[in-house]
Subunit: 184 residues, 2 copies
DNA sequence: TGTGAACTGAACAAAATGTACATTAACAGA
DNA sequence: TCTGTTAATGTACATTTTGTTCAGTTCACA
């Protein structure tokens, strides 16, 4: 991809998340993003159709990065799905999320968080679906409820973590696995 | 309050949540809400400043209803905070939420869900804060993490429930308390 | 260094937002 | 039933935001 395109996209992403840190998603206008990114109006519209589209693109990019090697791993060695494996994968994901923290903090601070979390949960659903298969059914609780429970639990742990920088990926991983005790 | 105002507000709330059932919050315009509610443009603006303001008002109204007698209860008899008490209060809240299901389903189906959940969690935080006080500290897990865990867990259970009408408040209450096992 | 692709900025049309006001209709209380 | 008050109406208007177009410029890369 042309270096100019990359620079433009990065500038827009940065401007956008910077704005999100102080202002709510709905109150930010496209023009403000354009000004903050210091690009031409038509440039923005040649990259993104709307503000919603920008948000979607940003989320896609972030998760492509976060789950990149997790998906690869899945393909190469048919993983076991046991407790330790799950813990490794989770910790790995947390490390990637840590890299994108600057972006994510802004996104999560307003209505845009909804889309982010939705994306995130979609990926997580795949991950936990397999882990859940190995477990015995819980006393009359619907599997789908349990899966949703796990997914939301982890996603919300991450959201919490984004505002508590003092903890390491390993610690968050432990918090999560301890509170979702039946997994380990 | 004047009967006309009530009728207008109800019409707007209904139009708004009806629209939300099919379309995303951001894509809905104020004009569309006005048309669907079949009211004059200036009438809308005499009630609400913006679309965001409308959403806020709707959430406030819903939660005033949902938590009304829970807060009263708190004042009258100084409740014990034990497991059974928590279960009762939770079930009670679920019954109220069931009444507002028609509204809530729409709100939760797009970005507007973020605000709704934020409101909801604020109320829940109060409720669970007390319940958590009675419990021993969990092995090195920050109290704030645990509280957030509980709150999000319950809120997400409700969100899940809104798409699975087949379960009763008692069942959801049981699902929640079983998966958040350390509370009981 | 040449060429295609990306960026620019200004200009434009269309849509949405928010306000003002004179008029009409509905309400509550006597 | 009458009356003063308050809400709703709808049109008109100013402003803002959005999204597109296009001719000219700059830049990356081969």
């Amino acid at each position: 991809m042309d270096r100019r395109q990359q620079r433009t996209r990065q500038a827009v992403y940065k401007a956008f998340t910077d704005l999100l840190r102080c202002r709510s998603y709905n109150s930010i206008t496209v023009q403000e993003i354009i000004d903050a990114a210091n690009i031409g109006r038509s440039t923005f519209y040649s990259h993104f159709e709307t503000k919603d589209d920008l948000l979607k693109a940003l989320c896609t990019e972030i998760f492509a990065h976060v789950f990149a090697d997790d998906l690869m791993k899945e393909k190469t060695h048919d993983f076991s799905g046991d407790a330790q494996d799950v813990q490794h994968r989770i910790t790995h994901i947390l490390y990637h999320l840590q890299d994108s923290r600057a972006y994510i903090r802004g996104i999560l601070s307003s209505e845009s968080g909804e889309l982010f979390m939705r994306f995130f949960k979609e990926y997580l659903r795949e991950l936990f679906e397999e882990a859940l298969c190995r477990k015995k059914a819980e006393e009359d609780i619907p599997r789908d409820y349990m899966l949703n429970h796990l997914v939301c639990d982890f996603a919300e742990s991450v959201r919490w973590w984004m505002h508590h920088e003092e903890y390491s990926p390993e610690e968050i991983s432990r918090f999560f696995l301890t509170s979702a005790s039946f997994l380990c």
